[in-house]
């Protein structure tokens, strides 16, 4: 929350810089080979950071939440909020499905490290004919 005060003082693009950092960090976790659950968390961070990209520009200093009442005249932009609500829901749906997959992978392979699983697959391909 301290950061918010800063963001207004430091200048117009502070929020964007933060957004970019969060996005890239999330993306890095996802594409670096590693633990399957950790990758899903990274995917979550990647998606979440996009929320800021949408929401931050909709904020008007001196504006208020877009719930109409007679006391206010300036409202922040409601449309990005709607879009991001949808995006959050999509995000959690993806996470649930991803985790269900990880659980199944763990049952089938006995581990959840990407490297190990790919090694197991390669080994299986060498020794036995591919069974369909």
């Amino acid at each position: 929350m301290n950061g918010m005060v800063n963001s207004m003082g430091v200048g117009g693009h502070f929020t964007y810089v933060i957004t970019v950092f969060l996005m890239v960090a999330g993306l890095f976790i996802v594409i670096a080979p590693g633990n399957l659950i950790k990758k899903l968390i990274g995917l979550g961070i990647f998606q979440t950071s996009v929320y800021l990209l949408y929401i931050a520009p909709g904020k008007l200093v001196g504006g208020t939440a877009p719930i109409l009442s007679d006391a206010y005249t300036v409202y922040s932009n409601p449309l990005p909020h709607v879009l991001i609500l949808t995006a959050i829901v999509v995000g959690v749906a993806t996470l649930a499905l991803g985790l269900a997959l990880v659980v199944r992978i763990r049952e089938a392979y006995g581990c959840i490290e990407e490297d190990d699983i790919l090694a197991l697959d390669a080994a299986a391909q060498d020794s036995t004919p591919t069974k369909q």
Partner: protein, 141 residues
């Protein structure tokens, strides 16, 4: 944990309030923050809370799995049904104006039912996912 009297009494006391809160979030969404999705999540949370304290078997008795699965589907059907109702009454798909002679009331009615649909599906899906994860663990042990 299942036999802790304090917890059980507390839960019995709290859960009605959580359910009430869910309903409040559902129907107050027009005026304050909230709506079908959040209400659905809270509703599911109440049952999950119940399951944690009283055990999965008891929760399944209160909210059986087939019901949960039907809720998932029914929510979508309610939502799409509102859209089709608009079609049948001579409007476009998801046209709320035609749902009532007074177009503003029509809008209110449309939004109400749509939010009911969202809450139904969301709470159904969240609960179902919870049940699935927990019962998967039972196999493993």
């Amino acid at each position: 944990m299942k036999n802790d009297l304090t917890l059980r009494v507390l839960a019995k006391l709290l859960i009605p309030f959580i359910l009430l809160f869910a309903l409040y979030v559902q129907f107050h969404g027009d005026f304050g923050p909230g709506g079908g999705f959040q209400a659905g999540v809270i509703l599911a949370a109440a049952v999950i809370f119940y399951a944690l304290i009283f055990g999965l078997a008891d929760a399944r008795k209160v909210v059986p799995e087939p019901l949960v699965e039907s809720m998932m589907a029914l929510g979508v059907l309610i939502y799409a049904g509102v859209g089709v109702a608009g079609l049948l009454l001579g409007g476009n798909f998801l046209d709320y104006f035609v749902l009532d002679p007074n177009s503003v009331h029509g809008q209110h009615r449309g939004i109400f039912w749509v939010e009911v649909g969202v809450a139904t599906t969301v709470s159904g899906v969240m609960l179902k996912i919870f049940y699935m994860f927990v019962s998967r663990g039972e196999v493993d042990e």
